[in-house]
Amino acid sequence: MLEIRDLSVSIDGHAILTGLDLEIGPGEVHAIMGPNGAGKSTLSAVLAGREGYDVEGTVRFAGHDLLALEPEARAAAGVFLAFQYPTEIPGVGNAYFLRTSLNAIREANGEPPVDARSFLGSLRSHMEELEMDPSFSSRAVNAGFSGGEKKRNEILQMAMLEPTLAILDETDSGLDIDALRIVAAGIERLRSPERAFLVITHYPRLLDLVRPDVVHVLRGGRIERSGDAALAQQLEQYGYGPRPEPEAVGS
C-alpha cells in the first residue's frame, strides 16, 4: 500500500532523512519511534505534501506516485496526517470545515456531496465516541483548544474522512490517561483490513492500546531497526542507544 524507497529529505541544505525505506501493507499498523529531532515529523509532513523540503527518492501509495501529488490530491487518494501541532483556523467553524473537507474529497473522487443530515448525524456520533462536547462543532477549528482537545479533534477528522492511510504524529503526546484511552479507542475503531496506520510515538503506553504489527526506530536519518511490538518495550527500558549485552547488564 505504502512503499517508501531511498527517501532523502533536507531543508536548506541540512539533511534530515538520508535514504529511508519503509513498506506498509493494507491492514497493518506500523509504529515509528525515535529520539527528538530524528525526523519523524519531517517524514510525516513530506508524506502529506508540505512544501519547503528538498526531497529525493520515491513514494508509491495505492498506485500513485505520491510525491508528485498536491497535498489535496493526496488527501483525496486517502492519506491523512494527524498533526503533531494542529493549526488554528480562526473564524472557520469546525463542522463547516469538516463538511467542506469531506465534500472536497468526495468531489475529487467523483462522488456527490454528502447529505447534510447524515453528515451531522455521523459528526454527532463520532464526537460522542470521542467524548467531545457538542460545542466543538461550532467553535473555530482548533482555536483556543487545549492541547488534548486539538488531538481529539484530529482523531475526529480522521474518523469522518475515513482515510486508507492514517499517519498519526505524536497524537498521544500531552494526553492524560483518559484522553489516551479515548483516542486509542478511536484509532482501534477505524482499524480494518483495507486501512493502514503509521503511528509516531514516544510512548509504549499508546502501543499497549493500539497494538502495532511492526515497530521501527527512526534514527540517523533512516530506519535503524525494526521489530515486533516487544521492541517498543525494550526501547522504553533501554532507550534508543545500542542495546547493552545481557551479561553486561548483570555485571
Partner: protein
Amino acid sequence: MIPAAVAPSAAVEPSWRSDVRADAVRWLADHRPPTTRDELWRYSDVDALLEAMAADPADDQVDVDAPTIARLAGDGPANRLVLVNGRPIADLASRDGDTDVVEVLSLRPSDHRCPADSYRDLRHDDWFLATNRAAAHDLAMIKAPAGSALGAAHVVHVTAPAGHRPVAHHPTTLIRVEAGATVTVVESHVGLDGAAAVNASTTIEVGAGATLAYHRVEQGAAGSAHAGHVSVALGPDACLRAHSFTLGASTTRVTWDVVCAGDGSSVELDGLVFAGPSDHHDHLVTVDHRGSDTTSEQRFREIVGARARAAFTGRVLVRPGTTGTSAHQRNASLLLAPTAEADARPWLEIEADDVRCSHGATVGQLDDEAVFYLRSRGIPEWHARQLLIEGFASEVLESVDVAWLRHHLRDGLEQRRPAIEAAP
C-alpha cells in the same frame, strides 16, 4: 467649484430645505475640494472620487423589482423603504408587523416638516457632505419614538445608471432615536451595473438612554465610487452599536464622525472592508469624547487584494474637563498579495487625564501553515485561501445580530470570490 451634480431644484421647497441647500451651495463656492495634502484625506484616492462625482445626477426613473432588491440588499423582517436614484418606490416598501413601532418615511423636497435640527444645523466642513446637502433629493427618515422597543428598519438606497451614462447619486438618511428607545437600522447602498458615484450622508441622533444598532452596508456595483459620511450625536447614556461594511465599490472613502456628547454614552463600531484587485478604500473614524464616562471601541478589518490599498485612520478626541473616558481601537489587515498595501493610523488627541486608551494594528498575510492544514484535508488551495479569508471576515460578521443580514453579507463575500482568485 460646484459639481455638476448640484442642480438646485426650481420646485417649491419649504424654507428650511432651501436654506440648507443655499447654505451648502455658498459653502461650496468658498471652498475647494480636498486633496491628499489635507491630513484627513491623505490616504484617499480623492481624485478618483471627485472625477466620478462630476457625472450627471442620477435622476432617471429606473424600474427595479423586488427580487433584485432582495438579491442586492438582502431581505428580512423590517420596515423597509427603498429609494431608487433618490426616489421612494412605494411597491418595494414593506412593513413588518413585529417591528412596526419604528416610523420609516421619505421626505419629498417639497415637504414642510423639518425632520431634525441636526439636518438643519449641519456644519459644512466636508466638501462631499456639502455637496450631498446641495444636491439631495428625498430624505430617508427613520424615527423610533421615545421608549419604543423592537423596532427594525431597512433603508435601501439604489443607484441606477440608465444606459451607459455615468451618474452621481447623493442619498441622504436621517435616523432619530428618541429617549429610551431601542431600534435596529440597516442602511444598504447598492447599485445596478454601470458607472456610478455615490455620495451618501447619514445623520443620526440617539437620545438619552436610547440604543441604536446601526448597520451600514456599502455593496455598490463593481467599479463604482462611494463617499459616505455618517455623523452621530449620542445623548446621555445613549448607546450605538454599529457596523460599517465596505464590500462593493472600487474606490471609497467612508467617514464616521461620532460625538459622545452625553455623559455615559458609548459607541462600539466594527468595520469590514473588502478591497478587490486594484481597489482603493479609505476609512476615517473620529470619536469625539465630549461627555464624561464615555466609552468607544473601534475595530476594523480590511481584506486587501493584489495592487489594492486600504487605509484606516482611527481618531480619538478627548475633551478637557472630561473624566472616565475609555477609548480603544484595533485594526487588522489581511494582505492577499505582496502588492497589496495597508495603512493604519491611530490619531489621538487627549486633553484630559482620566483616560484609558489603547490602539493596535496588525498587518498579515494568509497563514501558510493554515493553508497547508486545510489542503491536507483535501481542500484545494484556492478554496483553502477562501476559507481563511472568510474566517478573517467572520469575526466581524458574527458580531452582527441581525441573522438575515449576516447571511446576506456572507453570500456577498462569497460572490466576490473571483476577485480573490484574481490575486496572484
